[in-house]
């Protein structure tokens, strides 16, 4: 239990750092010096000091949704294992709860965006929903296939019951990390799907939904988006746990190495690609779903 609490504290503390690291690497690759790695902490601190103003046309939804969004993301984070520690929330079938708690977070964010009544935010909400529809199957096919493989339905048990004598697992890692990466990029609105630094409302997806928020509300939204990115990074890290001998040192080394590699990959992808056209995004997501289906097929037929 105490280890679970430590791991959720790690997630909460390191999440902004990961986003900062990706931004710093991205700046280095494009030949700039860039903001310091701990810049997200400064941003969050600045937002905390500001006053919260809601639009006149907004209802109570706008007031509650930042909190619900943040809390659901934290609950999702509490279900993820780091290293050998059993997470705080862990029971049979928590894989489904994990997906839908994140779904709840998104639902309230979309609802709040439409609640304000600005046409731009309605547009952003519509886009977010459209892409969420295509992102959901990626999660279920990827994590579903690993659940099939182990025959268990709790995230912690799944990752810690896989035995490496099965050759399929190596194929599985190649295939799964690709689709999990695409999922992370989509859910966290990173580069090929959405540009986090864009400043034109017409081209935004995620950012346009929080245009009218300020102060504590914006703080909660920003912080939960950092945590969400880190959650997907940890999900990717988890694929590599079966390689570690059951000791803390190896677990920590795997964690650090995978996080570093993942941040470099994110930065490289964001540097060399441009944002897709809106109509091409479903195609990109279907590609990841196809990978997930392939994964399931491989597992079923090599048993």
């Amino acid at each position: 239990m105490i280890q679970g609490i430590i791991s959720i504290l790690i997630i909460l503390l390191l999440a902004p750092m990961f986003a900062g690291l990706v931004n710093k690497l991205k700046a280095i690759f494009t030949g700039r010096i860039g903001a310091p790695t701990i810049q997200p902490y400064y941003d969050l601190k600045r937002l905390l000091r500001k006053e919260t103003i809601n639009a006149d046309s907004s209802s109570f939804i706008s007031a509650i949704s930042p909190v619900i969004n943040f809390v659901s993301v934290v609950i999702a984070a509490a279900m993820l294992p780091i290293g050998l520690a059993r997470p705080v929330i862990s029971f049979e079938g928590d894989i489904i709860l994990f997906a839908y708690v994140l779904g709840l977070a998104r639902f309230f964010q979309i609802l709040a965006a439409m609640d304000i009544g600005s046409s731009f935010e309605g547009m952003g909400a519509a886009r977010e929903t459209t892409f969420a529809v295509f992102a959901e199957p990626i999660f279920f096919f990827t994590l579903g296939s690993i659940a099939f493989m182990s025959g268990l339905t709790s995230i912690y048990d799944i990752y810690h019951s896989i035995r490496l004598d099965n050759v399929t697992y190596i194929i599985f890692i190649i295939v799964c990390s690709t689709s999990a990466f695409i999922l992370a990029v989509t859910e966290c609105s990173r580069m090929p799907v959405d540009d986090p630094n864009t400043h034109l409302e017409l081209t935004m997806i995620h950012e346009v939904m929080i245009l009218d928020n300020s102060g504590i509300d914006l703080f909660l939204y920003q912080y939960s988006s950092y945590i969400k990115l880190f959650i997907y990074a940890i999900l990717e890290t988890s694929f590599f746990y079966p390689f570690g001998v059951k000791s803390y040192t190896v677990g920590i080394i795997i964690f650090v190495v995978v996080i570093a590699v993942l941040s470099i990959t994110l930065a490289v992808v964001e540097t060399i690609t441009s944002r897709f056209k809106m109509k091409n995004i479903p195609q990109y997501l279907l590609f990841a779903t196809a990978i997930g289906i392939l994964n399931l097929l491989i597992y079923t037929f090599t048993k």
Binding site: V167, T168, I170, I171, I174, V175, T178, N280, P282, Q283, Y284, L286, F287, T289, A290, I291, I293, L294, L297, I298, T300, F301, T302
Partner: protein
């Protein structure tokens, strides 16, 4: 190992279904060539013999170096535009590829119970054949038809390795030569056509009269 390479092969097929650039098709062909070479070299790592390396070496030269270079040369010479011009929605095309792949995997699993075939390489080769045919049917550009034909041929090659562990080498080399000649002829034909027809659109061929 054979399974891992076949899965990578399947991933390249998915990429083929997603992409909309002519250049990406050429690089996928090159990638598949490398995969097939590794697939052929792999069984001979333990007992090395020069004779066994003739086929992989020929395959490498033809599929990874000669054919992609020649296609690139045609693209440059004839100034072919970089978009592939599909005749159906890319999304529909992708769904079609996914569904046909699922059907093929299930079917080959059923087949593998009665015959001695390796399911994954067999199914990957079969799906490559299907995807090659789909590419030929649903794309308008002639150069893409050549690429589709080559993907189909790669599929047959993989299929062959799955069904029999060792095919007679002369037959394989003969097939490679055939493929190279076919691509060569297609190139010459396209060069000839380019003087009469401005675009390289298959639909334009329907207007031809004698």
């Amino acid at each position: 190992m054979q399974n891992v390479l076949s899965i990578l092969f399947c991933l390249s097929l998915f990429y083929l279904a997603v992409t909309s650039r002519v250049k990406a098709y050429v690089s996928v062909l090159r990638f598949q060539g490398i995969l097939l070479t590794v697939l052929l070299v792999f069984p001979f790592i333990n007992h090395f013999s020069v004779y066994a390396f003739i086929l992989p070496a020929t395959l490498f030269v033809v599929k990874v170096i000669l054919i992609p270079r020649y296609i690139n040369k045609i693209i440059l010479d004839l100034d072919i535009k970089r978009m592939i011009e599909p005749s159906i929605q890319p999304f529909t095309f992708q769904l079609l590829v996914i569904f046909s792949m699922i059907v093929i995997f299930v079917a080959s699993n059923i087949l593998s119970k009665s015959t001695s075939i390796e399911t994954i390489p067999f199914a990957s080769g079969f799906s490559a054949i299907a995807v090659g045919i789909f590419v030929i049917i649903f794309r308008k550009k002639l150069i893409i038809h050549v690429a589709g034909f080559l993907v189909l041929e790669n599929g047959i090659f993989l299929f062959g390795t799955a069904v029999a562990s060792e095919l007679p080498m002369m037959i394989e080399i003969g097939t490679l030569l055939d493929v190279f000649v076919v691509v060569f002829l297609m190139g010459i034909a396209m060069n000839k056509i380019s003087s009469t027809l401005s675009g390289f659109d298959v639909t334009a061929l329907g207007r031809l009269k004698d």
